[in-house]
Structure formats: structure tokens, C-alpha cells
């Protein structure tokens, strides 16, 4: 087993990794940027060191400093989480060179699959289906237009280096093409340091379905079934579920086997995800491989009973997979919602500020992988993800009913968030029917207006608000929570302002 693991990340995923390490009895080292001193992940690692100022490039992307902390704290392994350095081949290589176990695929695999172009070639050679597309060698207008015409509108522009929706643009017609290429390239350059973009045929109503795989160092590889992630806003997944309402057992097996084929062609090691687009006619096309643990991994854990992060660590420590393909089963249904600090009525603009009160849902079949708490300050420096809410049910209906209620019970006061919006989506009749594709949100929510609070709830809200305020302003030094003043002590009827 590994002796000590540095977790090169922050937020809920750093906590998730720390929790797996604690279970396996492996001590952990956390890192934090200056504004993250009070972040939740710092409290879940056995040691924690300042990595640098707020800017990611100087902190969570600062390879030299992270390696230095790993060395000084005598770590022998690094877990990169997702985002930041998770799919950075240079970092993985550097770990390998410094004698640190990188908990993920080999640097060479990350490099290969990180290039959409090379990955595509590999997949085609392995005999798995890909979507027609072309890489742009330059942003020369003529070349851009020629390429677009060769695949046919609508097209999708993607950053060759990236992931997570950054540097992506849908282009419906010639008119928008040039500006879109330039802007996507600029965003890609700023996010990944590489402005190369790629254009491909856009399927009109595809579902995003991905396969979780695990591969050990002996070359054994299994698939842990699919996740459907069609509910996306600007190419960012916000709701994921498994099983997919669209897969038949046959397509599931075909897709799973295609994923394993791709992984083996890349000599894949550790956990990974092979993403596909599923067309309306049920044919599927390779999209990309994510060479990391995914944000949405918990839903797979819920239906397979497998702890993916613990497996990652054991595989990195040299363990063989403890199960064979035929021993893995899907049972029940799981769904995940990503909770963001963002304003759904203002074009989902990210929000920042202090969380004045936070109360998270619990109960049978409810899991909340959270990075927040009452008093936590959400800064502008990082991704606005606050937590992930996951529910499990005997079937899809129960999983969704539980999610709807868990979202209702999820209280985050003082900062704008998407909880109410997520509940609306979960309860949308078309979503309930499983009619999901990547165009679901733009189609059903071109604009979003927060529903008004129920009039009868307003009375409760007012009574509690006035009580709360009067308490806050009339009671002075309260020592301990033991001494709780009665509301309106000695006051009969009064007015405050």
C-alpha cells in the first residue's frame, strides 16, 4: 500500500479522495491557496500546507511547488482529483520522474488521449465508431469555411487540448463561424495553453452516454456500465444518471466492450471514462476519453456498490482488480445534481460571497459530497461548484422522487445558487419520461424565471424573519448556546422600526 498521498486539489473532490485514503489507512497531505485556508478540504487531510496565492497558476496548477510539498512531507503518491492538473501529462510525467506514484493513467496515455486528434486516430484503429470531423491547422478564414462545409452544418467547435466545455461552441450557420472559431481558440488558449481547435459534425438530438472503466497494471480492464449526462448547460453537465433510460442491455454491452477496447488500445491504467454520443437511431460515436475520476463518479458507485476512488488508490499501489466483468452488476437507479453558486435568473452568472446558513439533506438513499458549510466564503477564483447531491432508488422514479425532496431540503442562504432550478428540471415531465438529450436545457429553458414562493409560505417566512431579526438585535452577549433567550422577552406588542 502507499505510505502517504498528496491530494493536489480542493473542494468536494479533495474531500472525497481524503475519505477514501482514511478508510484505507493512508495518511494524506492537503494543499491550500491563500483564500482557501478555511476551505473544507483543509480539515479533511491529516496535514495541510499553503501552496500559493489565489490564482490557480500560482497554487493548484503550480507543479514545482506541489512537487516540493510532496517531497517535504514525505509523500510517495499524488492524487490529482478532477480539473486542475488531473489531465496534465507534464504533471503526471513529473511525478513519475520524481518517484511519486501518480494516481491515474501513465503520462504517455494522458498525452495520447488528451489530444482529440490522436485519440480519434487510436479509436478508429481500434475499430470503434467516431463522428466525422476535421482539425483546424489555422484560423485562416478560407480553411475554416472549407472544413465546416466538409462536415456540414450544424457543427461543433472543440478545443483539442481541453475538456469540461471550455473552448466549445456550437455553430449553426456560416455567419457565426469565424467569430466562434476565434473565441473558442482564445478560450482554449487561456484555459489549456493550446489554442488548437477541432470541428466536427453536430448530432441534432444526441444523448451523452459515457462508460466508466477500471484497468489494473496487469492489463485487466472492466467496464462499470454507463452514465447518461445529457442534461448540460453550455456543454457543462449538471445532472447525471445511471442506468441511462435509453440503453438496451445489448447497446450497453456493445458500448461497454467498445470502451474496454479503446482503453486497452491506449494501454490504459487506473480509472477512466470513455464518452460517447448516442444518436436517436441508437448508433453511438466515440467522443473522448477522460483520463481522471469524473465529477459524476458517485452514481456509478451507488448502482454497482464499487468504491471507485478506493479502487484508484489500490490500483496505483499495484493491486489487481478484485472482480471480473461478469461479477459486476447494476442495481437500482442513481442520479446526481451539481450544486453551483450561480444565478439561474441572470444567465447563470457565477456568484460569490459568504454562505450565511447551510443545511444539507440526509436520509435513506441520499449522499451529499459537499465542499461547503455555514460561514464558508465562496471566492471568485475557482469553479463555482459547491457540492454534489446524489440519490439512489429502487428504480428511476424513486431515485428522482428522492432527489426532488433532497433538493427541497437543501438550504443554502446568502448566496445565489441553482438548487431551485435543478428541482424544476428533475420534476419536468419530459425529464421524468426520460426524454433527455443534450439539447434538453436550451429547448425547455431558453430563459429561466424563479417560481414565486408559495403565498402561504410567505407567512411562515415573515414570522420567522421578524422573530430572527428581533432576536439578533435585542440580545447582546450570549455566552454559549445553552442560553437561549425567549423571543420578545418582556415585550408585548411592539414595532421595531
Amino acid at each position: 500500500m502507499l505510505n502517504k498521498i498528496l491530494i493536489a486539489n480542493r473542494g468536494e473532490i479533495a474531500i472525497r479522495v481524503a475519505s477514501a485514503c482514511r478508510q484505507l489507512g493512508v495518511p494524506t497531505v492537503g494543499i491550500y491557496s491563500e483564500p482557501d485556508r478555511t476551505a473544507k478540504h483543509v480539515q479533511f487531510t491529516d496535514e495541510a500546507y499553503l501552496v500559493g496565492p489565489a490564482a490557480p497558476t500560482e497554487s493548484y496548477l503550480n507543479i514545482d511547488r506541489i512537487i516540493e510539498i510532496a517531497k517535504e512531507s514525505v509523500c510517495d503518491a499524488v492524487h490529482p482529483g478532477y480539473g486542475f492538473l488531473a489531465e496534465n501529462a507534464t504533471f503526471a510525467q513529473r511525478c513519475e520522474d520524481e518517484g511519486l506514484v501518480f494516481i491515474g493513467p501513465r503520462a504517455e496515455t494522458i498525452r495520447l488521449l488528451g489530444s482529440k486528434i490522436e485519440a480519434r486516430k487510436l479509436v478508429m484503429d481500434a475499430g470503434a465508431p467516431v463522428i466525422p470531423g476535421v482539425t483546424l491547422e489555422s484560423d485562416d478564414a478560407e480553411e475554416v469555411h472549407k472544413a465546416a462545409q466538409s462536415v456540414g452544418f450544424p457543427i461543433l467547435i472543440k478545443a483539442s487540448a481541453g475538456g469540461g466545455g471550455k473552448g466549445m461552441r456550437i455553430v449553426e450557420s456560416e455567419a457565426e463561424l469565424e467569430e466562434a472559431v476565434i473565441s473558442a481558440s482564445r478560450e482554449a488558449k487561456s484555459a489549456f495553453g493550446d489554442g488548437t481547435v477541432y470541428i466536427e459534425k453536430l448530432l441534432t438530438k444526441p444523448r451523452h452516454v459515457e462508460i466508466q472503466i477500471l484497468a489494473d497494471s496487469t492489463g485487466d480492464c472492466v467496464y462499470l456500465f454507463e452514465r447518461e449526462c445529457s442534461i448540460q448547460r453550455r456543454h457543462q453537465k449538471i445532472i447525471e444518471e445511471t442506468p441511462s433510460p435509453a440503453l438496451t442491455p445489448e447497446i450497453r454491452r456493445e458500448m461497454g466492450e467498445a470502451a474496454v477496447k479503446v482503453a486497452q488500445a491506449a494501454q490504459y491504467l487506473n480509472a477512466g471514462t470513455v464518452e460517447f454520443l448516442l444518436d436517436e437511431d441508437k448508433s453511438f460515436y466515440f467522443l473522448e476519453v477522460n483520463t481522471r475520476i469524473q465529477v459524476e463518479h458517485p452514481i456509478t458507485e451507488m448502482v454497482t456498490g464499487v468504491d471507485l476512488v478506493a479502487r484508484q488508490i489500490e490500483i496505483a499501489a499495484g493491486a489487481k482488480l478484485p472482480f471480473k466483468q461478469e461479477e459486476l452488476t447494476q442495481r437500482g437507479h442513481a442520479v446526481e445534481c451539481r450544486i453551483y453558486a450561480e444565478d439561474p435568473v441572470n444567465n447563470f452568472f457565477p456568484a460569490s460571497g459568504e454562505i450565511l446558513l447551510c443545511s444539507e439533506p440526509t436520509g435513506p438513499g441520499v449522499r451529499c459530497d459537499s465542499g461547503i458549510f455555514t460561514g464558508y466564503e465562496v471566492t471568485v477564483h475557482y469553479d463555482p461548484i459547491l457540492s454534489k447531491l446524489i440519490t439512489f432508488g429502487e428504480d428511476r422514479e424513486q431515485a428522482l422522487d428522492r432527489m426532488s425532496l433532497a433538493l427541497k431540503d437543501y438550504v443554502v442562504l446568502g448566496i445565489r445558487n441553482n438548487i431551485r432550478f435543478l428541482r424544476d428540471v428533475i420534476d419536468h415531465p419530459e425529464f421524468r419520461k426520460g426524454n433527455t438529450d443534450t439539447g434538453f436545457l436550451p429547448r425547455h429553458y431558453p430563459e429561466y424565471t424563479l417560481p414565486e414562493g408559495k403565498p402561504e409560505h410567505l407567512n411562515y417566512a415573515l414570522a420567522a424573519a421578524i422573530n430572527h431579526l428581533s432576536r439578533r438585535t435585542t440580545t447582546a452577549a450570549v455566552v454559549g448556546t445553552a442560553e437561549r433567550p425567549t423571543p420578545w422577552q418582556a415585550l408585548g406588542s411592539y414595532r421595531m422600526f
Partner: protein, 166 residues
């Protein structure tokens, strides 16, 4: 006590009743029982209907959650000027680009004096590593452009100001 909700001033009063409290809002009277649970968490019962209510406040507002419904009440200040019905309807905010959080100006797409239509791009702002194209919600004329590409803009600063077409 006065609170502002949905641009309206609510005048409320609470008094003790025989087995709880009485809340008056305007002419309405609501009898309720209230108990403290944890800090900011209250149990209220009105006519047998039980609700757990979460409350927090900062200096300007009170945030409340009842059964998944969020309410925000603003605390009136001496200089509080409620927006008139008219302004509210017209949507005064549609005539300015105000980033709701610190952002970077990636690209200003219009010039002063230019005529813009609904849906036309005004500026690309970057925040939390995502680019956002801000489009005009109205047909208007660009009255002012207060920043240039590359500038950092703070919350509440007007990036672009529009004027109605005469």
C-alpha cells in the same frame, strides 16, 4: 417592523397570543406557534401545519427558506428609494451591463453611438474561467462604454450603458 419584499413595503407586527404569537401583515392576522431549534432554524406551526424555517441575515437582507422556497426580505434604510411601478415594469436594468461578480472584459463589441438590436452581442466577459457573451435585451443606442478589453470590472460597475431610441 417594515420589510421590503418584491419592491413592496410590508408593515408587520408581532404580538403574543394565548398559546403563541400573532402576526399582522396589513389587515391580515396569522396565529402561529414558534420554537427555536438551532441557530437560525425555527419550527413554526400555523393551523396544525408544521414547517421548519431557516433564516439568516446580513446588514441589508434577511434570507429565509420555507419548504424549499427561498424568500429575500430587504431591510429598509433611511435612503431606501423603492423603484416605482413604472421603472420596475420598464426594466431599467436592461439598459446597462452590470457584471454581478468581478469579471474581466475580454472583448467590447460595440461603440458609443452605435444602434443595437435585441439579441445583439455587447461584450464578452470572463469570470471563473468561463466566457460569457452579454447580449442586449432591448433595441437601443450605446450611450457609454466605460471599460476597454483586458480591464477588470468590479461588481456593480456599469460596463456599457444604453439609451432608449427616441
Amino acid at each position: 417592523m417594515e420589510l421590503i419584499y418584491n419592491a413592496e413595503i410590508l408593515t408587520t407586527e408581532i404580538s403574543r397570543s394565548e398559546d403563541g404569537y400573532l402576526l399582522s401583515i396589513g389587515d391580515k392576522n396569522i396565529a402561529f406557534k414558534l420554537s427555536d431549534l438551532s441557530p437560525g432554524v425555527y419550527s413554526l406551526i400555523v393551523d396544525g401545519k408544521s414547517k421548519k424555517v431557516y433564516v439568516a441575515n446580513d446588514n441589508e437582507s434577511i434570507y429565509v427558506n420555507v419548504d424549499g422556497d427561498d424568500f429575500v426580505f430587504d431591510i429598509p434604510r433611511d435612503d431606501t428609494e423603492l423603484r416605482s411601478e413604472a421603472t420596475a415594469a420598464a426594466g431599467a436594468d436592461d439598459f446597462q451591463v452590470l457584471p454581478p461578480m468581478p469579471s474581466k472584459v475580454v472583448k467590447i463589441m460595440v461603440e458609443v453611438g452605435q444602434k443595437v438590436s435585441v439579441g445583439e452581442g455587447l461584450v464578452v466577459l470572463e469570470s471563473m474561467k468561463m466566457e460569457n457573451l452579454v447580449k442586449s435585451k432591448v433595441d437601443a443606442i450605446v450611450e457609454a462604454v466605460n471599460f476597454v478589453d483586458g480591464d477588470l470590472v468590479d461588481t456593480g460597475k456599469v460596463v456599457i450603458k444604453l439609451a432608449p431610441i427616441e
